[in-house]
Amino acid sequence: MVAPTIALSSWETAERELGYRPSGPINIGWYCSDRLCELGLSATPALLWEDHQGNERTYTYDDLRVKTNSFAAWLQALGLRPGERICLFMDRVPELYLGFLAILKMGGIAQPLFSAFGDESLHTRLENAGTAAIITQKKHVLKVRKIVGSLPELKHVIVVDAPASQLKPGEVALELDALPPVQQFDVYPSTAETPSVLHYTSGTTGQPKGAQHVHYSLIAQYITSRVVLDLKPGDIYWCNADPGWVTGTSYGIIGPWACGVTQVVLDAGFQADRWYAFLQKRRVTVWYSAPTAIRLLMREGTALVRKYDLSSLRHLCSVGEPLNAEAVIWSEEAFGRPFHDTFWQTETGCIVITNLPGMQVRPGSMGKPFPGIEATVLDPKTYEPHTAPGRVGLIALRPGWPSMVRSYWKNPTGYQNKFRNGWYLCGDRASIDPDGYFWFVGRDDDVINTGGHLVGPFEIESALLEHPAVAESAAVAKPDPINMEVVKAFVALKPGYEPSADLELEIMNTIRRKLSPLAMPQEIEFIAALPKTRSGKIVRRVLRAQEFGEPVGDVSTLMEE
């Protein structure tokens, strides 16, 4: 008689492998450094870093353990306390990666922000979070100085690459590699629901929302890294994402380090030959990239790929926006293996729909739900799951997976609005084929997905209105062959202003400086008046439909000009 086997769920498997006991302590900072040393990986490189000038820094897992201890103790000594929000506002320098773990080790909430954000985007997010400290670099502290006076809760401005003599009063210099080593540190005894990370994400209405995660997210980030990214001991792993965004923390810090692999980081802008040279030099085995980057590489052709020995590559994944079929087919030709699409978002904290290693990739498909994730598409009218295959609906997940967002910071209503009929709504539309593969259709709202980053139209329109020439505006998505979508703005000018190329460029640059390059309209169309409802609300969908060449739908409620 064969004994029955009891299959553990993904989450139970992760708990067991990580030695986590329900209700016991769980601290991501400890799991990503000290635990690996206890497992015998002290001398294994955890981080191999280099920048565009060829400067290199290497950290073993023991370095990670000791230096994050030192960093955490230094933050404590500065007066920072558990639960306080500590912003990381840096390029991809080692201080960003180690600082993230240090904040978690001392019980703080890490708030990573994209270093290309302008001062207005930065202010919005720091003010909302009531951030107590910001850790930044010399070149970015200039933006902080513009806004620090209007952020009363911001007590500390920490600069990691400048001596105190170059700083302003109230700013503190921190030289990570010069900190005295701290061998033993009392890691904050966080438990499953202790807040860990605050990532800001954009919606259709209002300012960006702070998606608050907890330490228990580790369970999902670890197991998906091991199963979806196929990370194994000895792997050399490269994640292209910036830790200012959720991919850069879930799969650029937490997941891979919890798995004990060696991460490589290139702090440099995109350049195809430089990327290939980096893959070759570091003997990368697992590469997690994005469709925009893949399409840029495609543009350079396969002849360039052939100049490099990329035989170390074993597994390729992609995230950020739907991976088009052409990119999957091209990667098979160029690298001898397909990119595996993965679908998830800030709020899910981990990959939720994916093409698993070994699974037959259907080019253009998102794949299937990760084991343990219950996913479906809902009828947009009834919020009931579609029962027939092939019907387009709202992608929805059954709440309860470990890394699900726990709240939006100071925005309970916004959080509640993400749930309907017992489902979490992702804000995207898709269909499911008879074999259970999901096929992405598009966003279900006005959020613009540009290069894999979500940009909210409200924030752009608010910034546009601050320009003296702008009377009213609408920001919508416009299709783009590289970035999938880019921002296009429709602008009605105030009396006395005339459309011109100079004015267009000036407005573009204004938005880039205030918000970010991602939010900068790549095109501005000057129009006499924007389409509005009779109650005066601007109707973006009409403009968006025009850009995509789609039917504009019901216009009976629009105000006649």
Binding site: L142, A268, F270, Q271, L296, M508, P517
Partner: protein, 83 residues
């Protein structure tokens, strides 16, 4: 060519370097790979060059590599002024 590089370099410094940032930027400083101008901001830089010199640079030629320094951008200007 020198006139082009002077004008473009001034624009890059004015638009893409924060006031007070003491980083040295010259005509051969890597702009894209050096992280001074990202691929999104490249669009406004391209728009400036096209407007300033009355040219059209096709998207296929406006690659990150072609915009990676002021010298390279000036070479693009020369090339497309002849078209």
């Amino acid at each position: 060519m020198d006139d082009f590089t002077t004008v473009i370099l001034d624009y890059v410094k004015r638009e893409y370097i924060e006031e007070g940032d003491d980083r040295e930027v010259g005509v051969d400083t890597p702009l894209i790979s050096g992280g001074i101008v990202d691929s999104f901001s490249m669009v406004s830089l391209k728009r400036f060059v096209e407007k300033k010199y009355g040219i059209q640079i096709p998207d296929a030629d406006a690659t990150p590599a072609a915009f990676d320094s002021v010298t390279k951008i000036a070479e693009l200007v020369v090339r497309f002024q002849k078209v």
